[in-house]
Symmetry: C2
Subunit: 237 residues, 2 copies
C-alpha cells in the first residue's frame, strides 16, 4: 500500500479546518461558523521535515492540523533534541505560546501535513461576541493539559502501551480507540518523548507482538487485545 498523501485524507475531515469542526458541537450558529471560516488565513501543506515555526518566533497564529502530524521539539545547547509532544489531526498548536507571546518549541512536520492558520487576535476579537468560541478555546487548551498521561508512568512497558493507546485514541477522537493505524513518528521520536532509548521502544513493541496483544509492521499498528493492553497500561500485571 502506497503512503497516503495529506490531500487524500482531507475529504474525511471537515470542510475547512479542525477548529471550525470542533466548534460545531459548541452550538455556534450558521452565521458564527461562517465568520470563523472567514477568519482562516491560510491553508498550507508542509512536507516531512519542514519547520512550521521556531522557538522564539512571535506568536500570531494557531495552527490547526487538518491531516498529517507534527512534533514539538527543542534543541538544547549541547545539540540534543527534546521531543515535547505530538499534534495529530484535529489538534491545535499555539496555546503554549499565549502567555509569553512567543512559541516555546520548534514544530516539525513528521509526514506530509496540512494545516490551517488562525490569527490569534482575530479569534480573541471574535470570541468577545461569540461566547461559544470563548469556551471552546479554553476547552481546547484544557484538552491539551490532559492529553499526555503516558509520560507520567514509572514502568517502562506501561509508558509505551499507554503511548500507543493514546495515539490510537487521538486518531479516532470521539469514537474510542482506532484499532488499525500508522504511527506518524519514528521509534527515535517515541523514545525521546518517553525518556527511553529507541531500541527499548522497539523491543517492548516486539514483546507485545510476541504476546499476541498487537500486530505490528514497522509503523503500522493493529491493536488485537485492547482490554488486555488497557489493563497492562493501568498497571494490572
Amino acid at each position: 500500500m502506497p503512503p497516503k498523501k495529506a490531500t487524500d485524507q482531507l475529504q474525511t475531515t471537515c470542510a475547512t479546518c479542525a477548529l471550525t469542526q470542533f466548534c460545531l458541537p459548541m452550538g455556534l450558529t450558521e452565521r458564527e461558523l461562517k465568520d470563523l471560516e472567514a477568519l482562516v488565513k491560510h491553508r498550507r501543506i508542509f512536507s516531512r521535515g519542514e519547520i512550521l515555526h521556531q522557538p522564539g518566533d512571535f506568536f500570531q497564529n494557531f495552527y490547526a492540523i487538518r491531516a498529517g502530524a507534527v512534533k514539538s521539539v527543542t534543541i538544547n545547547t549541547a545539540g540534543n533534541e527534546q521531543v515535547f509532544g505530538f499534534y495529530l489531526p484535529g489538534e491545535v498548536i499555539g496555546f503554549e505560546a499565549i502567555s509569553t507571546q512567543k512559541y516555546p518549541h520548534s514544530i516539525i512536520a513528521l509526514t506530509e501535513t496540512s494545516i490551517c492558520e488562525l490569527p490569534f487576535t482575530h479569534l480573541m476579537q471574535m470570541s468577545k461576541t461569540h461566547s461559544g468560541l470563548q469556551h471552546q478555546l479554553l476547552a481546547l487548551a484544557s484538552q491539551r493539559l490532559t492529553i499526555d498521561t503516558c509520560i507520567h508512568f514509572t514502568d517502562t512497558q506501561q509508558r509505551v502501551i499507554a503511548f500507543l493507546l493514546n495515539v490510537s485514541a487521538r486518531l479516532n477522537r470521539s469514537a474510542g480507540l482506532k484499532r488499525i493505524f500508522d504511527l506518524p513518528m519514528s521509534r527515535h521520536d517515541i523514545g525521546n518523548h518517553l525518556g527511553l532509548a529507541m531500541e527499548t521502544i522497539s523491543r517492548i513493541i516486539h514483546h507485545l507482538k510476541r504476546q499476541g496483544l498487537l500486530a505490528v509492521h514497522h509503523r503500522s499498528i493493529e491493536l488485537l487485545k485492547i482490554p488486555a493492553l488497557k489493563a497492562l497500561a493501568t498497571g494490572n500485571k
Copy 2:
C-alpha cells in the same frame, strides 16, 4: 525556625487571591478588579493530606493557591499512585477540567494550604464584558502547558536538577530563581512525578551537595551555584 503556617504567609501575597493578583498586570480597571474580588466564593484552609477534590467530581470552581502547595494525583486500579504535578502559590487549579466538566485528578494538600474558590461560570460570564480577563484565563492555561519541562529530559540527573530549578522559579514567579526555599513535597512524590525511585532522588541530591552545587537539609534547599546547575540541567556536562 518553626515551620511557617499558611496564615503567616498570606500577608506577602495579594489582598484576595492569586487570580486577582495575576489579573492586575492585565490592565483591569479598579472597577473590574473589584468585580473579580466580589466573585471569590470561599477562602479555605486545608491541612496536610486533605483532599480538595477527587477525580470525577463535577467541575465548578477554579482553586487559586494563596499559600502552601498541593499535588495532583490519580490512583490506578492496582493501587499505585501517579503524581501528575504540583500547584504552588499563585497557580490556579481547574483548567484540566474544562473540556470534560470533571476534575481528572485528586488534589491533595502537601502542607497547610490556603486557597480561593472561583466559580467557573461566573468567571466566564464576567469575561464576556472584561476582555482582559478572557485573555488572562487563556494565559494561565498557557503557562500550565509549559510549566513542567523537567519531565521530558532523558537523563536522570538533568530531570532532577530541572525539577529543583523549576520549583525554585515557580516559588519566586516574576523575580527569577529563589535561592533558598523548602520543597513542599516528599522525595517519594518527586520520584513518582519524575518516574524515578525515591532513593534515586535522594542520591542525586546528595551528589549535587557533595559537588558543592547546593546545600540541602531534608526539604530545605539552597542553590549555591546556579549557573552550574542551569548548565547541567540543559545538558552541558
